[in-house]
């Protein structure tokens, strides 16, 4: 098990020596048990870092934000930025590196392994502890311990772990500058794509019946997009707001500007949004599950994303987030890519 003090000492040391200009990590949250992302810039702040099963956030997003800040303010970084990264955060960083979003030497990765565990699913936890959210949670070997109003409680890992963690085989951040915890790569609690396979057993009519209901329910708050480290575009294609309006722009030009998707949260627009997003994430989504976790209306987004991931793996032998050097999924091909569907 990881001693959180090791993470803090490493961060303090790096900051004190000036080897990094900041360390992105998690600190205790201000609401309930969940940890929250933070950016530590002074050595003496390093002790605020935490590592527990509520470190849900994919911190690669903070790395993207840092990069955007630098670019938009036209600043150059004085030193690399440090980041505490669990397996899925590191996979996201690998995809960003693969896409040349920043350079390897721009980041210092302090890897933390989820070992035989993962992060909690708060909905599952609440069901286990009678509806009341605990105030704190900790790893307890293969299980978890949580603090509730009625005292401490032990929870079985399999019962309360997030679905993505149950299917995760790469809990260890392979890409790292230094790492803590055991490398449990290849572990398997649930078969990979188990939920996907269950869903695909439905026939076409049942699949549409299911998805039209989901597309109807989405309120297009875009939380799923905002939380995703892979959705880094300054202007998303679904917004279509980039049209420059000049004095000579006619009303007709304004009316006829390209709008791939209308803003109204209705079925057709929501469906187009979600399918576009799934396609733009194909071969890039690392199944950190954050989009699904933050959705206020519980749209099962992992189904769409893991569908694309399985296609990437099975049809094209492509492993998202596995290597920095290779080309991206849709910018490459093999001679024997499937083509029987083409007349």
């Amino acid at each position: 098990m990881i001693n959180v003090q090791d993470i803090r000492d490493t961060a303090r040391d790096l900051l004190a020596k000036g080897e990094v200009r900041a360390v992105i990590g998690w600190r205790a949250g201000s609401r309930g048990m969940a940890a929250e992302p933070c950016v530590v810039t002074k050595p003496e702040e390093a002790d605020s870092l935490v590592w527990d099963p509520t470190c849900y956030h994919n911190l690669a997003l903070q790395l993207v934000n840092d990069r955007k800040d630098l670019v938009h303010s036209k600043k150059t970084a004085t030193a690399p930025i440090g980041i505490v990264a669990k397996g899925c955060d590191a996979r996201a960083i690998v995809v960003l590196l693969q896409e040349h979003y920043f350079k390897r030497e721009d980041v210092y990765i302090i890897g933390v392994s989820c070992e035989n565990s993962g992060v909690l699913d708060e909905r599952k936890v609440k069901a286990q502890v009678g509806g009341f959210a605990p105030s704190a949670a900790a790893f307890d070997g293969d299980n978890f311990s949580v603090k509730t109003a009625k005292g401490d409680k032990k929870l079985a890992g399999r019962e309360v772990m997030a679905d993505r963690c149950l299917e995760c085989r790469t809990p260890f951040p392979k890409e790292n500058n230094t790492a803590f915890g055991d490398d449990k790569t290849g572990r398997e609690f649930d078969a990979q794509f188990a939920a996907l396979a269950r869903f695909e057993a439905n026939d076409e009519a049942a699949r549409w019946e299911f998805w039209q209901r989901q597309f109807d329910r989405c309120i297009r708050c875009f939380a799923c997009r905002s939380v995703c480290p892979m959705c880094f575009c300054d202007e998303c294609v679904v917004d279509s707001i980039e049209m420059k309006i000049a004095p000579e722009t006619t009303a007709e030009e304004k009316a006829n500007r390209i709008r791939w998707i209308e803003r109204s949260a209705v079925r057709s627009e929501n469906a187009t949004y979600h399918m576009t997003r799934a396609l733009h994430l194909a071969g890039r989504c690392v199944d950190c599950g954050e989009c699904e976790r933050v959705c206020p209306v519980n749209i099962p987004l992992r189904l769409l994303n893991t569908k694309m991931e399985r296609e990437a793996r099975e049809a094209f032998g492509f492993d998202p987030g596995a290597s920095i050097g290779g080309p991206s999924l849709v910018a490459s091909f093999r001679d024997d890519d499937p083509g029987e569907f083409i007349r």
Binding site: E200, E204, A205, A206, R207, W208, E209, F210, W211, Q212, V237, W260, E262, V266, R267, S268, E269, A271, T272, M275, T276, A278, L279, A282, L304, K307, M308, E311, A315, F316, L329, V330, A331, S332, F333, D335, D337, P338, G339, F341, I342, R343
Partner: protein, 142 residues
């Protein structure tokens, strides 16, 4: 709309180097084929964004066809390889959410294959007609 008068609307994205010329050849050769397809010329099948396909369905297309040069014949060498991969994903995703497999089609048609182009369109129309209008992804007010 009654069964008899229903004619499926197809949006066809045709590569200008091959399938678009193929469709012209079908025309000048006086090959009879259904007039259901609205052709949209694109520079290469590889330039067809998945959003074109989704957008066409959203605007009420009953079927979408993408047609490019045979593998090995791409004017830009590898555009059709990229299209094959990208559009495989689109096809899978459409089926995954429960859109009928036959609403999306892809073909390789060279500039010399006027007859094949006519055949592709005819088959597509024959497959689409019994399915009736595409309502699943169509925008309500478009």
């Amino acid at each position: 709309m009654s069964e008899q008068t229903y004619e499926p609307k197809i949006v066809a994205f045709l590569c200008k180097w091959c399938s678009s010329a193929g469709s012209d050849l079908a025309g000048v050769s006086r090959i009879q084929y259904p007039a259901n397809a609205t052709p949209i010329q694109v520079p290469c099948s590889g330039s067809v964004s998945p959003m074109y396909i989704l957008s066409a369905l959203k605007k009420g297309a009953d079927g979408v066809l993408v047609s490019g040069c045979h593998i090995g014949d791409c004017h830009y060498l590898e555009g059709n390889y990229l299209a094959r991969r990208k559009l495989h994903l689109v096809k899978e995703l459409l089926q995954f959410v429960g859109i009928e497999e036959n609403r999306f089609r892809m073909s390789w048609v060279s500039a010399a294959e006027g007859a094949k182009f006519a055949e592709v369109v005819k088959e597509f129309v024959d497959d689409l007609r019994p399915m009736g209008p595409q309502e699943k992804l169509k925008a309500k007010r478009a």
